[in-house]
């Protein structure tokens, strides 16, 4: 039932609306709306019941193990939510004077400083509103750097084929053409191909580490040299920093720019699709180009530095200060962990991933890179299972839902056929991981014994498998009231 179908003409919620006004005489008739928008006419209780019931049709971290690779579905502390929702924080207007925001700015400034430490970078801007916008900011800074030096021949961005789709898409938004670099059989970027690809046209390389294959790039120092010697800059996709927190710092590895996804590593919620936050960190030479505003602390006062203070900045990426409320949650989380706790995150994210990998291997699953350590995540390939039984990665993913587990990421990265990218995170216990292994084992047995059961999954969700081909062909994107 849609909310519109609950609607009854004339049903109102007077407690949620101001008193009726006399005719809005200041607004000329020809600028006014003649039609009524299609908004539900329901009671407050109807709306509360409807959306509460809808919420119950979701899997979430709060209800289920959610090992979605490359998404770091760790527990989102409730305390961080409550602190970001303090009434004074919520009420503050983004353009209110800095004198009225010293408390919130102190939190943001300290977060900025902590991110510098974690990434090993010289400067950080908190404004990007998600990972992809952080990537945009990073690549735009690389471009601004080359242009400021009069080096306009650099038109190409190198992107490994295992990279997340946002990497090439962000580089294109910055006006670059993309050159893909292949992966070798150990899951590292193919060094020979990288050497062959660089040249005076190279603006930079966008590297994800640990890569989306769930392994640490072993030749990272060599890659850094190759790209820098060719005059390019190095971009670090730090969307997945969980396994290296306090272990390695991208700045120490010679990277020029990095983005961090706070909605992964710093445990801010995903909210069914966002909001996220993708701060960028830079080395000395990119400092002048950081997106504004950034937060400065001088003479005991916090203030926003805008384009007046940073004239070469790539500019504003949001109307105000990025996703401030998300930054406050990340700040509260970081303070609850402290330095020791950060490092422990990496330890236990890595322990959980390697344990799960070992157990699944024992259970008969094929690991994509069995010769490698897992970082925070690893890949199982179901190519063999598909050949034997016809059951593919999607079928296994759907059947897992029936067993009370959210599915891992499927069909990404695209280079591994029939893949499940599995990221348990540090907040899950051994007991949960064991239960997940048991569930996957059951699915494996079912795939052999009763493949139709798996093919037809899920069986216990609010709907069975959905026809996404029909969804794309016969677009139904908004509800229309049936003709009376």
């Amino acid at each position: 039932m849609l909310i519109f179908e609950l609607s009854r003409p004339g049903r109102k919620n007077p407690s949620q609306a101001p008193a009726p006004q006399p005719e809005a005489s200041g607004i000329p008739a020809h600028l006014r709306r003649a039609d009524k928008p299609l908004l539900p006419e329901v009671s407050e209780m109807d709306a509360v019941r409807h959306y509460t019931r809808l919420s119950q049709k979701n899997f979430s971290i709060d209800t289920h193990f959610y090992p979605l690779g490359s998404c770091t579905m760790k527990y989102n502390p409730r305390g961080a939510h409550q602190m970001a929702m303090l009434p004074q924080f919520l009420a503050r207007h983004p353009l209110a004077p800095e004198t009225t925001g010293q408390g919130v700015l102190a939190c943001l400034y300290e977060l900025q400083e902590m991110l510098k430490d974690v990434t090993g970078m010289a400067g950080v801007s908190l404004t990007p509103m998600a990972g992809a916008q952080g990537e945009f900011a990073g690549v735009a800074m690389i471009r601004a750097y080359h242009v400021a030096r009069g080096d306009t021949a650099r038109t190409e961005m190198l992107v490994p084929d295992a990279a997340h789709g946002t990497n090439p898409a962000s580089a294109v938004m910055c006006g670059y053409t993309i050159k893909e670099i292949p992966t070798d059989h150990d899951g590292n970027v193919d060094l020979a191909a990288l050497r062959a690809a660089v040249g005076p046209q190279t603006a930079g390389l966008m590297l994800t580490n640990p890569s989306t294959l769930g392994v640490f790039e072993q030749n990272i120092q060599e890659m850094q040299k190759i790209v820098h010697e060719a005059g390019g800059l190095l971009y670090y996709d730090g969307a997945n920093l969980n396994a290296i927190l306090g272990r390695v710092k991208p700045g120490d590895m010679g990277f020029d720019v990095i983005h961090v996804n706070l909605h992964k590593t710093f445990s801010t919620p995903h909210g069914g699709g966002g909001p996220g936050s993708g701060p960028v960190g830079v080395s000395e030479r990119l400092l002048p180009f950081l997106p504004v505003p950034i937060i400065a602390h001088e003479d005991g006062r916090y203030r926003l530095v805008t384009e007046q203070g940073l004239p070469q900045s790539i500019g504003h990426l949001s109307a105000f200060m990025g996703n401030t409320g998300i930054l406050l949650r990340a700040y509260a989380y970081a303070r609850m962990l402290g330095g020791e706790g950060m490092r422990r995150v990496a330890d236990f994210a890595t322990l959980n991933a390697n344990y799960l990998m070992a157990e699944l291997k024992k259970a008969g699953f094929d690991i994509a890179f069995p010769q490698r350590r897992a970082s925070h995540e690893f890949i199982v390939t179901l190519k063999g299972l598909k050949e034997q039984t016809g059951i593919n990665a999607m079928d296994v993913a759907k059947r897992l839902l029936d067993k009370g587990f959210h599915a891992p990421t499927t069909y990404f990265p695209m280079l591994v056929p029939e893949c499940l990218l599995i990221e348990p995170t540090e907040t899950e216990s051994k007991q949960t991981l064991d239960a997940f292994v048991a569930a996957l084992k059951e699915v494996l047995e079912e795939a052999h014994a009763n493949p139709e059961l798996v093919k037809g999954a899920p069986h216990t969700m609010p709907v069975r498998r959905l026809d996404d081909v029909k969804a794309a062909r016969e677009l139904d994107l908004v509800w229309k009231a049936p003709a009376a």
């Binding site: 928008p37 735009a140 090439p168 392994v215 609850m336 540090e426 216990s429 959905l466 994107l477």
Partner: protein
């Protein structure tokens, strides 16, 4: 160990299963030269009570003010149910709904959201949110350039939100797209035919029309839309969703309607929160549906023919199309779209219209009262929605400072953005302001201005042409 459940026994048995002696060994693939030392800047861990207390103190330090600033972020009443439901773990801690069958709650809600936004804007299609209003404008510009095919230039009036224009510029300029500024009418504060004449016959992909514009002034949207269409341009309407409770939807502008409608969704249930999270919305005509950026939810059926919802049109998106995607956006502002859908359901048609009317009435009252004060003028003559530009005979920064001392945030000083306007203040009153609040504003303003003027007396005649109020 905060948020890590492992017991000593668990750790030992896990290491045994892996076949290694220590957690340290699990990092042995990292080249030794790269292994970092401690996190030197990171403070000691605090428990929830301690960090809670620190943040409470900081929040109290910031305090609460009687706020008359708008300028793209507006204070509105948010029903208690909005965040109590959006804060439920099932919405709050879910990922993007990739596994549709286990995400029907989020997906159906987003389909309802799309329906509400498309209807509010008078468009056929809506996406499931973008980052904010400013970045939504940039995405609309990119979309218009793709759809237009020949031109990479966009006309943007100077009375479109100045920071939005900067954001759009930052986001599109690297693709060789140019934003060309159209001056505003100094008398009316709007975009007028005379200033557009200059651009006639030029090759432009689109005209941006903000309604109400940054000055709070209402544009002659029909005329502007028809002009742009006559020039083979698309029309991008940048609108305030609350104002649409009262104002004509972009889909109905002029003879053919705007082609794309974007805006800042914050007024629909998002607290001001120093700037975010808010959400951007983007709606368009059917013909442009396959050019739309970001997530889109569609209704379909399951194996048994039962209706259900899933992400659709994914072939436009970065995870499939990579370098050829319509946008790089991946994570959007889903939870804010969630709050907007709940907010709009609680208000309903009549509630939204009442909120819009109350905003207009309060702003009108404020302007009327303020303009009775000697030395205060409303500088633009065209009608406005819930914001207006007032000028004074003393620097606005001084006025605002004196108001702040009385616990009032009196509006936005326009001097840095529009120095040509002189001592100009952009002031807003939404439905949250009472007659008493407005009296407090005007009394303080009067006191501050009269103190400033209590040197040599100077009586000024108020020009009647601009003071409709």
């Amino acid at each position: 160990m905060p948020f890590i459940p492992h017991t000593e026994e668990d750790i030992q048995s896990m290491l045994e299963a892996i076949g290694t002696a220590s957690i340290e060994n699990l990092f042995d693939e990292i080249p030794p030269a790269l292994r970092a030392g401690k996190l030197g800047q990171m403070p000691e861990a605090l428990n929830e009570m301690a960090i809670g207390r620190l943040m409470q103190e900081r929040a109290e330090q910031d305090g609460r003010y009687l706020n008359f600033i708008g300028a793209g972020a507006y204070e509105h009443h948010v029903p208690a149910a909005v965040w109590q439901i959006a804060g439920r773990g099932e919405f709050y801690s879910a990922y993007t709904p990739y596994q549709a069958e286990a995400s029907q709650g989020t997906l159906q809600l987003l389909y309802e959201f799309q329906t509400m936004m498309a209807s509010l804007t008078g468009m056929d299609v809506s996406n499931a949110s973008l980052y904010d209003g400013a970045s939504a404008l940039a995405e609309a510009v990119l979309m218009a350039v793709r759809a237009h095919k020949t031109s990479r230039r966009i006309l943007v009036p100077a009375c479109v939100h100045p920071i939005w224009r900067q954001v759009a510029e930052a986001l599109v300029k690297n693709q060789g797209i140019e934003l060309v500024t159209v001056p505003y009418c100094t008398g009316g504060g709007d975009t007028v035919a005379e200033s557009l004449k200059h651009f006639e016959g030029g090759d432009f992909a689109a005209l941006v029309i903000q309604q109400p514009n940054f000055f709070g002034v209402l544009e002659e949207v029909d005329e502007l839309t028809n002009w742009a269409h006559s020039q083979n341009m698309l029309v991008i309407g940048a609108v305030n969703p609350v104002a649409l409770g009262l104002l004509k939807a972009p889909g109905q502008w002029g003879g053919k309607g705007a082609d794309i409608a974007v805006g800042e969704g914050q007024p629909l249930g998002a607290p001001l929160s120093s700037g975010g999270p808010y959400f951007g919305f983007l709606c368009c005509k059917q013909a442009l549906a396959r050019q739309i950026p970001g997530r889109v939810v569609g209704r379909t059926v399951d194996l048994d023919g039962k209706p259900g919802f899933c992400l659709t049109l994914q072939a436009r998106e970065q995870h499939i199309r990579r370098a050829k995607a319509t946008s790089n956006i991946c994570t959007n502002q889903g939870l804010m779209a969630t709050t907007a859908a709940i907010h709009l359901s609680l208000l309903g048609q009549s509630g939204l219209e009442r909120v819009a009317s109350a905003c207009h009435a309060n702003a009108s009252l404020l302007v009327e009262q303020a303009c009775l004060i000697a030395g205060v003028e409303r500088i633009f003559s065209e009608p406005f929605f819930h914001e207006a530009v007032l000028t004074f005979d003393m620097p606005v920064a001084d006025v605002l400072r004196a108001m702040e001392a009385q616990g009032i945030l009196g509006g936005l000083d326009l001097t840095p953005y529009y120095p040509e306007l002189g001592n100009a203040l952009l002031v807003c009153a939404t439905e949250t302001k009472t007659a008493e609040d407005i009296r407090k504003f005007t009394e303080n303003l009067e006191r501050i201005l009269s103190r400033h003027n209590s040197g040599p007396a100077c009586t000024r005649l108020k020009p009647t042409a601009t003071s409709k109020w």
